[in-house]
Amino acid sequence: MSVASQDTAVRTGGFVRATIYLVLIMFALFYLVPFYVMLSNSLKPLAEVTGGNMMAIPQTWTIDAWLAAWSTAQIGVEPTGLKPYFLNSILMVVPAVAISTILGALNGYVLTKWRFRFDNIVFGLLLFSCFIPFQIILIPMARMLGIMGLAGSTPGLVLVHVVYGLGFTTLYFRNYYAAFPTELVRAAQIDGAGFFRIFWRIMLPVSGPIAVVSIIWQFTNIWNDFLFGASFADVDSMPMTVALNNLVNSSTGVKEYNVHFAGAILAALPTLLVYIVAGRYFVRGLMAGSVKG
């Protein structure tokens, strides 16, 4: 991707180049400022936040707001801080990501190497499911979770996220495996290797990159989800995003903006970390669903 000869070879003068840099830096500021404001104000005492300039760096540095957001802030009726909800999110995200990625890998394997008559229709139906507005399934899903005895529980949320993530994970693995030579699979078959053996020995060892893409995509989406959490969780299973919204938009008491900001950054931290560690794959994952290949 970064081969020099592929760069667009447009010749530009000094003034034009200066302007280009200026525009690029202005945009960098545009993207950075809201985050800077959150960060710097989360480190100020409340009086300095409400009485001062939001762009100023803290005069009195304090991590009290962070401690409050984590363990003592009022969420709904309980002064528990965001900690229990952070754990809820982790308990929801880990199994949901694991299950949907494993199923997606198997589906992609079947759809490319074991093709059957209507496989394209199956894939089309899966693909369309990626893009439905979830409002269309909210009402029956609420009923179904009730019938299954999973209403308001973390396993219920895991189920919801697995079901509506399968389209994406299958799409990733299918497009990736499509480029893998089918002859190798056929040769292994002639040698007597079965379905799972081929998957385990031939497909899985080459699946690293796309597995990372799938895991990152699912992790980001499920961690950041609000709609399902708000619709299907109760107090004991409420994920981080819903708790954060309750903290920020609660109508009672003094608005502790510094605590809100610390909470918002806490909620953003896991996905930001993933992004910093594996940003390259993040970009690839975002595009795998849209750009061919």
Binding site: M1, S5, Q6, D7, T8, A9, V10, R11, T12, R17, V23, L24, F27, A28, F30, Y31, V33, F35, M38, M54, L103, N107, F116, N120, G124, L125, L127, F128, P133, Q135, I136, I137, L138, I139, P140, M141, V162, V163, Y164, L166, A178, G194, F196, T220, N224, F226, L227, L244, N245, V248, N249, F261, A268, T271, L272, G279, F282, L286, G289, V291
Partner: protein
């Protein structure tokens, strides 16, 4: 011998069946949780469901009522305004940044992640940050006045007529970097020889881009617009966190309308009807795209 043959036969049959068996949980999940649920919601939209689903057939009454509601028209108009501006501005910024970044920029490796990181955040976080940033008493307006620009005013978020544009600003902030990444990938895929040939023919930089590069980016444009359109119709969390649908109902979108009618106003039939219309809107955008995708892959 015959026994051995039938055992081998059984094994091959099992091997033939296995792929379908492995795929079956997914197919079952799709049939029930996606397509079955869609049918159920469509059915509900023709019934007099209030707080709970009811099975009394009403015909198209809910749709008639829905399109007679001021709140629904507000939501639909808002979506039209929001989607147009959101898609347009994101594409423009994304394309501009991609083209500029493609000029052998030093520090590209630093800038690119800065443009892209908002995509990793939850819309709830984005909404929290921008709600504060745009608040007249605390945010931008206050800062400008403190810096000595006494007459500076920016109260859009409190203004019924302008609040929807603040949703556009926050949404553009979140996704324009992603559109940049899509265009940049497209630009890097263009064969440099074509550009060199055009330069030798004396094409200016401007016409080089207008005549050759931008037309070659067609697939990236298409993907960007389809993805952004789908994100726009689904927008829910951002409005909840940024404006809560307010001031009044000024920033209500179909997604928030559906939620409040179904779950807090006990008009499930009308909520279901609004969800069906959302689905139809997305289907109209996505189906041709998916169809093209499948045909090309074959």
């Amino acid at each position: 011998m015959a026994n051995h043959a039938s055992e081998a036969d059984f094994r091959t049959r099992l091997q033939d069946l296995l792929p379908k068996l492995v795929l079956s949980p997914t197919v079952a999940a799709m049939v029930v949780f996606v397509y079955g649920f869609i049918v159920f919601t469509v059915y509900l939209s023709f019934t007099d469901s209030k707080m709970l689903p009811s099975y009394d057939w009403l015909g198209i009454d809910n749709y008639v009522k829905l399109w007679g509601l001021r709140a629904w028209w507000t939501a639909v108009t808002n979506l039209a305004v929001f989607a147009t501006l959101y898609i347009g501005i994101c594409t423009l910024i994304g394309l501009t940044l991609a083209i500029l970044l493609d000029q052998k920029i030093r520090g590209e490796g630093v800038l690119r992640p800065l443009y892209l990181y908002p995509m990793a955040l939850s819309f709830i976080v984005t909404g929290t940050a921008w709600k504060w940033f745009l608040d007249p008493g605390l945010g931008l307006q206050n800062t400008m006045q403190m810096w000595g620009w006494e007459s500076f005013e920016f109260r859009w978020i409190k203004d019924r007529d302008m609040a929807i544009y603040t949703v556009v600003i926050a949404a553009v902030w979140q996704t324009s970097g992603f559109v940049m990444a899509m265009f940049l990938a497209g630009l890097r895929g263009i064969d440099n020889e074509i550009l060199k040939a055009a330069q030798i023919d004396g094409a200016s930089n401007w016409s080089l881009y207008r005549r050759i590069v931008i037309p070659l980016l067609r697939p990236a444009f298409l993907s960007a617009v389809v993805i952004l359109a789908h994100l726009a119709v689904k927008s829910y969390d951002l409005v909840i966190a940024l404006t809560g649908g307010g001031p009044g109902r000024a920033t209500e979108l179909p997604a928030t309308f559906m939620y409040s009618y179904t779950f807090t106003r006990n008009s499930m039939g009308i909520g279901a009807a609004s969800a069906v219309i959302m689905l139809m809107t997305i289907a109209a955008v996505m189906t041709p795209y998916i169809y093209a995708e499948l045909k090309e892959k074959k």
